[in-house]
């Protein structure tokens, strides 16, 4: 996965075509915003409609309160207006008066067509009586018209008189009913006014709370829709400073936002992987360069070690030839001891120059040391006592890592003994003793060179045991003990305890070399 693929994923997700393609089960941003606005407006519209409805209902209720009063007023007018055409018809027999009379009669019959049953309510009974009186009155009108047509003067005159009283009576009754009704309605109107005030108050509350509800709901909804964007910006900020460990954003939101969030999470994951890969490759390159540098340094060191080794050797051919000449001369003169000495010296040199190898078998090193010991005993027969203590079977020791006879760096024991001979007994009165021991301990080969000389000062010890600074030592000779120490450090860089020195002024010095048979030296030339 590359950075390009991460960006590609993001670009693919925020593609306009993809943006308006809602995932299954999710609403799109457009539909969500439409829903928010629509629901808000619906709440407001419903509230307003409700207020309008209640206002109309209120008007209707108030109107109903006075509807009956208007009805009775109209009824009274019709009754009063019926008297004129009735009188006119009876006196003139006018057809226009009759037509007017019949029209008004019909109007009154229609107005009082409602059948009012008997009721326990006194007001309803009064209304019933008025209606019945009007019906009777209209029946009498018809009867009077009939009497007029049949010219029964006395009858229609009587009826006219009766109906005059009746008309007045009905009008009075209507007044009474209307007045009583008005009195009742005045009381009820007061109640209605009180209730309508309450209604207006609660309607106001409805509008206020509907508005607040719609606003808060819209704020809540918009916050829900925009919150992922805010979180995305925070995540982007974290990514910008290189923090790819921020948690993924998981938000249930509109499809577009969900897609962007998903793409963003994916992009973060891809970038994280990509940067990880770059870091890994850089680390490999770094390791490679370091290894290369190390190899170069090792080559330099190797050359320097060879130089050291060369420095530790004498001019072999000259010395060897010279010594052989000496041995032949001693034989010719019958000087056996001299001859033996010269022979050991020759063996020692031959040992040294036999091979220019960095590592030699352990026993080879010991054989060389024995020749050197003979020479030292001849040189210091009374002042130096030297001993070689080999553990039994040490000659069979093998390297565990290679399964071969144990190999140790060449020329490491002789320089140590030589160092003791040269430096340890300066200003010492007692008999000098040098003891060399070789033994196996667990998986280690231990080589110890111990003297009872003056010891090495602590500061000198610290200086000796320091790893050589190549630059400063470059081109200078490193001899004796320091040569051995630096070579051992070079061959066994992982083993800091490959050589230790136990020394104190006046108590002697023991140099202990501990070589792990399991550990292969860093170079095996």
């Amino acid at each position: 996965m590359s950075a390009g693929s991460g960006l590609h994923t993001l670009l693919e997700h925020i593609n306009p075509v993809h943006l308006f393609r809602p995932a299954s089960g999710e609403r799109s941003l457009l539909s969500q915003l439409f829903l928010y606005v629509f629901v808000t407006l619906i709440v407001i519209v419903i509230s307003m409609s409700y207020i309008l409805f209640t206002s109309m209902q209120l008007q209707k209720i108030v109107d109903e309160q006075f509807q009956s009063e208007r009805f009775y007023q109209q009824l009274q007018q019709e009754l009063q207006q019926l008297q004129d055409p009735f009188r006119s018809y009876l006196s003139t027999r006018s057809s226009s008066a009759l037509a007017s009379l019949l029209i008004r009669e019909q109007t009154l019959r229609e107005m009082t067509a409602e059948e009012i049953p008997a009721s326990m309510d006194p007001e309803e009974l009064k209304k019933r009586e008025v209606f019945m009186l009007i019906h009777s009155y209209l029946d009498l009108v018809d009867e009077a018209i009939g009497q007029k047509r049949s010219r029964s003067i006395s009858e229609y005159t009587r009826l006219y008189e009766l109906m005059g009283d009746m008309n007045s009576y009905i009008i009075e009754r209507i007044d009474e009913i209307s007045l009583n009704g008005f009195r009742v309605q005045i009381v009820e109107y007061g109640q209605i006014i009180t209730i309508s005030r309450q209604l207006q108050f609660w309607n106001l509350m409805v509008i206020i709370f509907a508005f607040l509800w719609a606003i808060t709901w819209m704020m809540f909804s918009l916050d829900k829709a925009t919150k992922p964007m805010h979180e995305l910006s925070l995540m982007a900020r974290e990514l910008a400073v290189g923090n790819f460990e921020v948690e993924d954003i998981h938000i249930d939101s509109v499809s577009e936002v969900s897609s962007v969030v998903e793409a963003f999470n994916q992009m973060k994951y891809d970038m994280q992987q990509y940067i990880g890969e770059i870091k890994h490759q850089k680390a490999i390159e770094q390791d490679y360069l370091q290894e290369k540098l190390r190899n170069l340094k090792m080559e330099q060191l190797l050359k320097r070690m060879e130089l050291y080794t060369m420095q530790a050797q004498m001019n072999p051919h000259f010395l060897f030839n010279t010594l052989n000449t000496g041995v032949q001369l001693a034989i010719l003169e019958d000087a056996d001891k001299t001859a033996e000495y010269m022979e050991n010296l020759a063996l020692f040199f031959r040992h040294n120059m036999r091979e220019r190898k960095l590592f030699v078998p352990l026993m080879h090193e010991i054989e060389g040391l024995k020749s050197y010991f003979y020479i030292l005993q001849i040189r210091f027969p009374k002042s130096l006592q030297i001993s070689l203590d080999l553990e039994e079977g040490i000659e069979q020791a093998v390297d565990l890592c290679r399964d071969q006879p144990c190999m140790i760096p060449a020329m490491i024991l002789q320089p140590l003994v030589e160092n003791s001979v040269v430096h340890a007994f300066k200003g010492v009165d007692h008999m000098g003793e040098i003891r060399v021991r070789v033994w196996e301990e667990d998986s280690h080969i231990c080589l110890s060179v111990k003297d009872n000389g003056a010891g090495i000062p602590e500061q000198t010890l610290q200086t000796l045991l320091q790893h050589a600074e190549r630059a400063s030592k470059e081109g200078s000779k490193i001899m004796g003990l320091e040569n051995v120490i630096q070579r051992l450090y070079f061959f066994y860089p992982e083993n800091e305890q490959v050589i230790t020195i136990d020394s104190a002024p006046g108590t002697g010095t023991e140099v202990l070399i501990t070589i792990d048979k399991r550990e292969a030296p860093c170079i095996t030339l």
Partner: protein, 333 residues
């Protein structure tokens, strides 16, 4: 922010719903009020008209109470109308669609007879209360027998009065039923007292003025000192006269026989200010009138006379009446 917005949304949503609910409840309760105004209550089967004189006296109020009680029991709607004083209600009764009429005929007899006959002709049954028109009237009657009323008055006078008995009887326009049959009342009194009357009954009359009795009593007591017993036929007149008697310090010297069983009258009797009282039962009259009319209308026949009785209240019996305040005893006719 998220939780605040969510909480505010829920809060305002709840308040909106609450306000809407209360508003709806208010408009519904208002609609119910309107509905109640428009619809009325009950579905009775009969419609009776009750025609009583226009006044606010206890007697008629109790008659109305009794009639309403019976109307409720029998599912009869009652419409109350005035009679007399030139009102046309009884004249228009036969056109008003009523199923029956209860009439206190406080109008001239001939007029009453004519109107009642018209009603009968129109098929509207009629029951008269406390007032007969003529002995041979065909209309059933509910009330007291005024002869019995007179006899009871006579018995009280005979019991408390000292001979020679000089009795004045005061009728009233406020009790037209008694006044209309004053002859029967007087006959009853004479039947009870017989020869004990020192002279003939002194007859007086008050009008509808509630204070009229005060003046009349004062005149009697001043101008006719021989009169030692005064009989009243109306509760208001009784109370007014008693006050005059007390003011003139003639309690015990002049005996007053009142009318009705109102609480002040009972108190006066207990204290000995009033010698006694005659009580009829107007609630019973109203109740029985509706009952009788219903019977007549439903079955076409009924009793011709229902006597609701007369009660004599004396100092001995007043305690019993005071202990039973809810007893259906009314005022004067």
């Amino acid at each position: 922010m998220k939780y605040a917005a969510k909480a505010a949304t829920l809060l305002f949503g709840a308040l909106f719903t609450l306000s809407l609910g209360i508003s709806l409840y208010t408009i519904l309760s208002m609609s119910q009020l309107s509905l109640r105004t428009a619809e009325g209550t009950g579905v009775p089967v009969r419609h009776y008209g009750v025609y009583l004189p226009v006044n606010s006296y206890t007697f008629f109020q109790d008659v109305v109470t009794g009639a309403k009680l019976a109307g409720t029991e029998l599912s009869c709607g009652l419409s109350f109308h005035p009679i007399g004083d030139g009102t046309l209600d009884l004249s228009m009764a036969r056109y008003s669609g009523i199923d029956g009429a209860i009439v206190f005929p406080a109008i001239p007899d001939d007029q009453a007879r004519r109107l009642l006959t018209d009603l009968n002709t129109s098929g509207v049954p009629v029951v008269l209360i406390e007032h007969t028109i003529a002995n041979d009237s065909p209309w059933p009657f509910v009330g007291t027998n005024n002869f019995d009323l007179g006899k009871k008055i006579g018995e009280v006078i005979a019991k408390i009065g000292t001979d020679p008995l000089h009795v004045a009887i005061v009728y009233s326009d406020k009790s037209p039923g008694i006044y209309a049959e004053r002859e029967l009342v007087e006959m009853g009194i004479l039947a009870s007292l017989g020869d004990r009357l020192g002279r003939s009954l002194s007859v007086r009359k008050t009008d509808l003025n509630p204070l009229d009795a005060e003046d009349l009593t004062s005149q009697i007591l001043r101008n006719e000192p021989s009169i030692n017993t005064i009989v009243f036929t109306d509760t208001n007149d009784t109370l007014s006269a008693t006050q005059v008697l007390i003011d003139m310090n003639l309690v015990g010297q002049v005996q007053i026989i009142g009318f009705g069983a109102d609480r002040p009258i009972l108190d006066y009797i207990e204290k000995g200010v009033l010698a006694g009282s005659i009580a009829v039962n107007p609630k019973e009259i109203g109740y029985r009138a509706v009952q009788l009319l219903y019977e007549l209308e439903q079955e076409g026949i009924s009793e011709s006379f229902v006597d609701t009785g007369v009660q004599v209240i004396t100092r001995a019996s007043v305690q019993e009446l005071q202990d039973a305040p809810s007893q259906d005893l009314g005022g004067g006719a």
